[in-house]
């Protein structure tokens, strides 16, 4: 760190030929600072504006489940539940799919089909979420309603998870949409992690007589496991904050229901839905407190992801050098 600090100082003293360097330093520093300030300002503003709601409801905001804008009684449980369950469901589907695709792309796929598939993965990541939402309403929901949910109800209907009338929209639809949106992130990051695993690892395993699967499992996945966890957490962060697509397919009912067929609600959705027309101070404040909860949840998840990605970066670099 001291070395880094020393260079610009000498640059400042030097002749004007280094003016570009100096400008660059100032600009970049400002950019970095701006991000820090932005996050702090957001946190400060959210805490400040959610004070009325915190005063009125206290901890009951976190443990009750009534959301009644008319009577102005607010509880966040159904939204926290919906956010966590839909995101967990998304990971349940997306992790095997995303990791599987990444392992294939990094370890098994013939070299000439790797670039087009990797390109397609990036393309899927760039589709706007409202498109997923519309697809969810017009394609996925009818599909679930007419085929998937009746079939699940018939075969697994004894489980409380698969009971109730098939609406199409609901927690299951939200989980599937989120999974589709999260898969490209998990695939792309996992692929990078797997490619960063040094070849000496694979060679060593193969030299010991390991099969392809054993090599992948012991030498590659184990080596990159914290990076892979980072990829998954990145996907989870995306799932937690996704708004539009989820709002369009989750059914928007603030209720904690065990069944995946039942409609639910997420934190991001309720903010998107009700913020524009929320007129009273306490109502607005309650919505902002939901935002604050989501902010805290997302920060925790992203911090975990960062830490894990950093920890995988270390050993890979040393081996390459």
């Amino acid at each position: 760190m001291s070395v880094v600090a020393a260079i610009p100082q000498s640059a400042e003293r030097a002749a004007p030929k280094n003016i570009g360097d100096r400008a660059l330093r100032i600009v970049l520093k400002a950019a970095a600072l701006a991000i820090v300030l932005l996050v702090l300002a957001m946190a400060f503003e959210m805490v400040r504006t959610s004070v009325p709601s915190m005063r009125t409801f206290g901890w009951s905001f976190l443990v009750t489940s009534t959301w009644d804008p008319v009577a102005e009684r607010f509880g966040a449980i159904p939204f926290v539940y919906g956010t966590l369950v839909s995101s967990f469901l998304a990971l349940l589907i997306a992790v095997p799919l995303g990791l599987g695709a990444a392992i294939y792309l990094a370890e098994l796929a013939p070299a000439r089909i790797r670039p087009p598939i990797a390109f397609l993965v990036e393309l899927v990541a760039a589709v706007p979420s409202v498109i997923y939402g519309l697809w969810g309403i017009f394609v996925l929901a009818p599909l679930l309603r007419t085929w998937v949910q009746p079939a699940l109800g018939k075969t697994l209907g004894y489980l409380p998870l698969f009971q109730g009338p098939p609406y199409g929209v609901g927690m299951l639809a939200a989980g599937i949409i989120l999974a589709i949106m999260v898969v490209p992130y998990i695939t792309a990051v996992s692929r990078e992690v797997l490619l960063a695993v040094p070849n000496t690892q694979r060679e060593a395993a193969l030299a010991l007589g390991a099969t392809r699967w054993e090599t992948t499992r012991i030498a590659v996945l184990r080596y990159g496991r914290s990076g892979l966890v980072g990829a998954i957490l990145l996907g989870l962060g995306r799932a937690l904050g996704e708004t539009m697509a989820v709002t369009m397919v989750i059914g928007n009912r603030p209720e904690v229901a065990i069944s995946l067929f039942a409609p639910g609600y997420t934190m991001a959705s309720v903010i998107a839905n009700e913020f524009t027309e929320a007129t009273s101070e306490i109502y607005l404040s309650a919505l902002i407190e939901i935002g604050l909860l989501l902010f805290v949840l997302t920060i925790v998840v992203n911090a975990l992801a960062r830490l894990l990605v950093w920890s995988v970066g270390g050993p890979v670099k040393t081996v390459r050098e």
């Binding site: 008319v70 009577a71 309403i137 009338p165 609406y167 059914g251 524009t276």
Partner: protein, 351 residues
Amino acid sequence: MRRWLRAMVLVLTGCSWLVAPAPAYAQMLMNGAGATFPYPIYSKWFDEYTKVDPEVRFNYQSIGSGGGIKQVTSRTVDFGATDGPMTDEQLKQAPGELLHIPTVLGAVVATYNLPGAPKLKFTGDVLADIFLGKITKWNDAKITALNPGATLPDQPIVVVHRSDGSGTTYIWVDYLSKISPEWQQKVGKGTSVNWPVGLGGKGNEGVSGQVKGQPGALGYVELAYAVKNNLPVASIKNAGGKFVEPTIATTTAAAAGAAKSMPDDFRVSLTNAPGDDAYPVASFTWLLVYKDQPNETKGRALAKFLWWMSHDGQKYADDLLYAPLPGPVVKQIEGKIKQITYQGKPLMAGR
């Protein structure tokens, strides 16, 4: 370095090109914010009005009624717009007296998904019972009694409502509260409510998408949206005991029916309005302006615009599927516009 300079020059020329088509005459920028529901007609008006008065340019942000009320109250905009009238409490918080000026009318219709799309009739009571979750089947005696000709299946009714806070919801639940004491007491009215049953769809497209895909679904959407998309809509029994189909004419009739008992500040609910032709689920949408304007030139321009909007501007309503204001209401609005002042001096005294 030279390349860097060249890039700089390019960027600068680009910027100057953006600024170049500057207006040749002095312009006044009128800022407004609020309701999303009337946004299409407001932007049409603001566009057409530049032909009437080229010196005024409007900048309208359709951020929702809540935002409109908040911004006009803090005077960050010159006028606000809302789908639901401001409450007495909200009016008290404003730094000056705010006027509600009705601009056009909208209606909310019940749409459904049944085999053969029969024409259905409802009363407010039956609708309230369905939305309360008390009537759960299409072949319930209360529904079949109203629709003797239609074949109604033994199928659950899937209620679909708006999930986003909206003026459309406000009008719908305002009507249900007026008809059903139980609704009034259990749910009440607002831009979002605690729905006893049903699924939430985002926006008109979310509700209608849900209704179209779900056999047995019943939801509510804006009249304009239902007409444009040819959705089946129900007739609803009005205060005069007649079953009225939702159309632009029957929506305007609701305001005409209410004109006689119109309160001076126009903060009136038009649901279940009197009159044989009145469609019962209709409402005004309002612009919010300060009675005493802070700036004389701007205030005069705003008053002139309001005058134009309530007269010549009304002819654009039909095409955009809004219901125009009825004659008697326009007369009442004229009186209101004349009350707009600058430091106590009327701005439209010449009329």
